[in-house]
Symmetry: C2
Subunit: 264 residues, 2 copies
Amino acid sequence: MIALVPTMGALHVGHLELVKRARESADFIVVSIFVNPTQFGPNEDLARYPVDLEGDVAKLEAEGVDLVFAPSVGDMYPDGMTTWVHVEGADKHLCGPFRPGHFRGVTTIVAKLFNVCLPDKAVFGLKDAQQFLIIRRMIADMYFPIELIGCPTVREHDGLALSSRNIFLSERERKQAIVLSKAVDAARRLIDDGERDPRKIELAMESIVASAPDAVLQYAEVVETRGISPIDRLQPGQEVVAALAVFFGRTRLIDNTFAIVPDL
Amino acid sequence: MIALVPTMGALHVGHLELVKRARESADFIVVSIFVNPTQFGPNEDLARYPVDLEGDVAKLEAEGVDLVFAPSVGDMYPDGMTTWVHVEGADKHLCGPFRPGHFRGVTTIVAKLFNVCLPDKAVFGLKDAQQFLIIRRMIADMYFPIELIGCPTVREHDGLALSSRNIFLSERERKQAIVLSKAVDAARRLIDDGERDPRKIELAMESIVASAPDAVLQYAEVVETRGISPIDRLQPGQEVVAALAVFFGRTRLIDNTFAIVPDL
């Protein structure tokens, strides 16, 4: 059994949780490290995305990872490459509208990593909820013979979701950044308590983010997870995700909660 | 070693040649039979495409095929399926402009068949030159661990390329249909004799097609095979394909020749 953990490096404890989860379900663990240029927009942070291959490899060695696959851009995108894998319609909400082409870049590189590494299982974090849902759909639609495993988000003590981009936060921003997890906690509580109007849940998230003076909300949205589409009302038994993206200066953070709507 | 021979059924001797070629290079032969709806345009002949599953299976049994995979449309396109594989830019010439979406349908279904059948080798006819080139590029770009094998076009005694659509030709059209192979033969001769101007080769093909009173030319084009793009002049050592599509009534026929431009 081979399990693949695709990463962009700059590994933190959240990534190592993915590795531990992989180890539970496979005997050969491959971790890929590739900062995939096609999933960054022209105004995004590809140039300053943190890189620490040596440190990453040391961490993975300590976790007993069997193989680190760290290809070059030329390895993964040889000259003349023009084939794309796209989950149509799945990028119309959440991060999609703000990151045109991002998920097409993600699905294309993940499909290529699947074909290169031929894993039986693939482990992704749930922190990028939309990425997880789109990969899930791609695997199902394309009949990849791969079991997808999603891992819960790992958080700091105050609730901030671990992210390779957290290092860019100033001390002041770091303190305020807890509004993201507070917002998704509030959304989760509202859903659990029976709120069925997604707009009210979104407004609750928005007002929590507004309490941080340096936070600039990009979106706060509740969608059903199958089509990654907005809904008029939450239906009992439905899987939904409440997600948001917030800027602190140039640093963009995301967070979310998955929930099955309770039948109260 | 598993070899996959993807077909749309209505098998003729050309298909059986693909099976024989598969047998030479693998010990387990899978033939898929699937009339793929996503590669037919709204004005194309999906509804009248010939179907003969029982006859096909008998022919394949006689060839010693190990497995016939004949899924339903629902099997291959379950509800909510939205993932597409597309080789961008490769459908701007030859059949592409006349069949919008066709090759996206082809690459998507072939990628799915690859993931379902997990072959080591895949055998395609060279008769659909553009399909072959696009699959070749998809396999390379997506790192499918599959060896692509191309089989020369099988022809009737007078040169007409075998096609499941030949049965739609009237006797009069059938006689005239030899202009396709005559045109590609002429193109091939011109290339071999040192003609380097693709427009002159195209004109030669066009004038041969024009000699058949019922033939309506859709295109006659010379392209290099890497980008499937037109060229100003043929370069020695370059792989090119001279291809054409011709209507007889509602029946659309194609033919082509691959050539390496000689260094005279």
